[in-house]
Structure formats: C-alpha cells, structure tokens
C-alpha cells in the first residue's frame, strides 16, 4: 500500500535515525515551557504497564505519566504506582473510550498543554513520542496520529483487518477531505485544543475512527506521523470475530449519524 499521496506527513524519519535524534529532541527548547502528560489506558495489563511507564520516562523525564486503570483486577494500579506513575482508578470497566476520556479530563483539570496516548500493552514505542509531538510543536496540527502505513512505516496486518482499516481510511478521507491512512491507530498526541475537545466529547467504544472525524468537525487540524508498532508485550487484542463485526457496524453507524450531528467547540470556560 503506497499511502503518501496528499497526506500531511511530519517527522518522516522512521526507526533508522530516531535513536540518535531522541536526545536532541528532548532538549527541544519549545518543550521547556509546555506541561505534557502521557495517558496510558490499561485494563489488566499488570505484566506490561510497568515497563511501558519506564520506557516513557526514559525518553522524556519531564513527561508526567498517568495510567487510567479501567477497572483492572490484576494489580495494574499497584504495578503502575510502583513504576512511579500517577494512577486514576476507575471503579469499574468503562471500555477504552471512557478510560481515554478520563485521561483527557485529567489533562484538562491539571492544566496540561500536551497529551500523548500510549497503550499500556507495549505496542507503541515511546521513543517515537518526539516525532509525534513535532507537528504540534511546529503549530501545524492540533492532533498528531502515529500511522502504520504512511511514509517509512511497514506494517502488514492480516488480510481481513487490512481490508477493514482500508475501508474506514477511505471513508474518513472522503468525509474529512484530507488523506488519512490509519484510522485505527491509538498512538496519538494532542495540544490544549484537543485536550479540551476530548475531555468533553469522546466516543464510548472503538473511538479511533470517530475521534478522527470529530477533530475535523471541530475545525481542528490533524497530521499523520509514520511510526512502527510492536507486537504486544502481553495480553490479547480486544478484536475477535464477532467484535469485529460489531466494530464495523457500530463505527459505520456512528460515522453516518455524525454527518448529521451539530458540533460546538468546547471552550476553556465550559
């Protein structure tokens, strides 16, 4: 899949030079006055959440890490606290949408300027956070999405999954009139505008596709950044056969209804 056409790509340097550039980017003077938080949603990820937190800290010690424990029963909270993260513990399982929104509410309440989503299962590489932040720091976008398909990224998902991703990518591209290659990526970063939006309005489940459209509806700008995803360190993907059917139907319905919804951008006061 050649997916470069028209996409707004930034920081187009994949793994090859990312290791050497990390130190330089952390010292980025633009970051010095910006408070930033990494939101790590975790549901029964006690085995991997600790190392994810340590990896994030190693990349950027100034980056606060908040783990949203989505009602885990395996000591995820304790593991996260042990690794030095702040923990927000939901009383019961809300699903990824509700958990992510809690993270954005945390970022809103604590006055963060930048928020980065990093999955608790270790499939996102925190060393790519600086690339992800680049379009936000340059003022080119309000949300940056790590895409597995554009630029230097090489990711070949199983056939059925690839078709699903491709269908939604085309659909979203059509709706937002900007080339979008990966609508399922949960590796994202937003600025204050994005934090305010997502704290106020975030879809319940399978939120990635809808939030992409939401961002455009609210006249925010999005940029894609090529990233590599790793195979998950532990746990299982939440996608099964029946769930993937529910996924297709639910997301399609939400996209369709979304076309007829009215949107008002939340402000700092609301």
């Amino acid at each position: 899949m050649s997916a470069c056409g028209g996409a707004k790509l930034s920081g187009a340097s994949p793994m090859t030079d990312s290791l050497t550039s990390v130190e330089a980017r952390v010292a980025d003077p633009r970051l010095s006055r910006l408070r930033r938080v990494a939101i790590v949603p975790a549901y029964n990820e006690a085995a991997s959440v600790g190392s994810v937190i340590e990896e994030i800290r190693a990349v950027d010690p100034e980056l606060e890490v908040v783990v949203i424990d989505d009602g885990s029963r395996d000591g995820t909270s304790a593991a996260a606290e042990g690794a030095g993260a702040r923990v927000v513990r939901l009383p019961f399982n809300l699903g990824i949408g509700g958990a992510m929104q809690t993270g954005y509410q945390y970022a809103r309440e604590h006055g963060f300027d930048l928020a980065i989503q990093v999955d608790g299962d270790g499939q996102h590489d925190p060393r790519e956070v600086p690339q992800l932040l680049e379009p936000l720091l340059a003022g080119d976008a309000d949300m940056a999405v790590g895409t597995r398909f554009a630029g230097g990224a090489r990711y070949r998902p199983p056939f059925a999954r690839r078709v699903g991703i491709e269908v939604f990518a085309r659909l979203v591209t059509l709706i937002v009139r900007q080339r979008v290659t990966d609508t399922t990526s949960g590796f994202r970063a937003v600025n204050r505008n994005g934090i305010m939006l997502f704290a106020a309005d975030y879809p319940h489940d399978y939120p990635e596709v809808e939030t992409t459209v939401l961002v455009f509806r609210h006249k925010l700008r999005m940029a894609e950044v090529p990233v590599e995803m790793r195979t998950r360190a532990s746990g299982r993907s939440s996608i099964t056969f029946f769930r993937s059917i529910y996924y297709m139907v639910k997301v399609s319905l939400a996209l369709f209804i979304g076309l007829f919804r009215r949107y008002s951008t939340p402000t700092e006061e609301s």
């Binding site: 949203i68 702040r86 923990v87 927000v88 513990r89 939901l90 009383p91 019961f92 809300l94 509700g98 929104q101 809690t102 509410q105 945390y106 309440e109 319940h204």
Partner: protein, 118 residues
C-alpha cells in the same frame, strides 16, 4: 364485527394491566414519568376492546379485514414505543453512570495526591 368473547377477554386484560400499573405507582415501585406511556397503552386497549364499533371503523380505515388484529397491532405498537423509550432511558443512565465513574476516579486520584506526603 369483533367476536364478543375477544372483546371481553381483551377488556379484562387491559383493565388488569391498568390496575397493576396504578398499584405499582401507589407503592412507589414505578415513577409516574415512566408509567405514563404504559397507562396510555392500557387505556387505549381498554377503550377499543369495550367500544366495539370504534374498533371496527378503525380497522376499515387502515384496511385491516379482521378487527381483533387491529387491537393486537395497536398493542404491539405501544409496546414498541415503551421499549424504545426505555432504550433512551438506558442510554442516558449509562452516560450518567460513566460520568459519575470518571468524576469519582479523578476525585480519588486528587485525594490520594494530597494525602501522600510525597
């Protein structure tokens, strides 16, 4: 014309439903705002099963050959309305439930931050 026996049975059933609903409200097991649709349902069925000529005319009007099926169709329609209403109530409740869980979690994390001597 609707057979008399059907009218009697339908009227008795509707009356029973009506009494049950009123009793549930009286015991505060059912809030008025959720009972209204049920009351309208029971009352409409009661009226149409007792007032037999009206049911006949209604069936003619919409082209139903056998008047008692108009009664069933109407009952089914009302039940659908009640169910749909409940779906909206559940959606609202689960939204509020989510908001409560989020607020609680954020408050707890703040509280722990304060209490921890860092």
């Amino acid at each position: 014309m609707t057979p008399l026996r059907i009218s009697l049975v339908a009227a008795a059933a509707a009356l029973l439903l009506l009494i049950l609903i009123l009793e549930l409200i009286r015991r505060r097991r059912l809030q008025e705002r959720y009972a209204i649709l049920w009351l309208v349902t029971a009352f409409t069925i009661l009226v149409l099963s007792a007032w037999r000529s009206a049911l006949g005319e209604l069936s003619d009007l919409v082209g139903i050959a056998y008047p008692p099926s108009a009664l069933f169709a109407l009952a089914a329609f009302f039940i659908l309305a009640v169910l749909l209403h409940y779906s909206t109530v559940i959606s609202k409740l689960s939204d509020q439930n989510k908001i409560l869980a989020q607020r609680l979690a954020l408050l707890e994390s703040r509280l722990r931050e304060r209490e921890a001597p860092d």
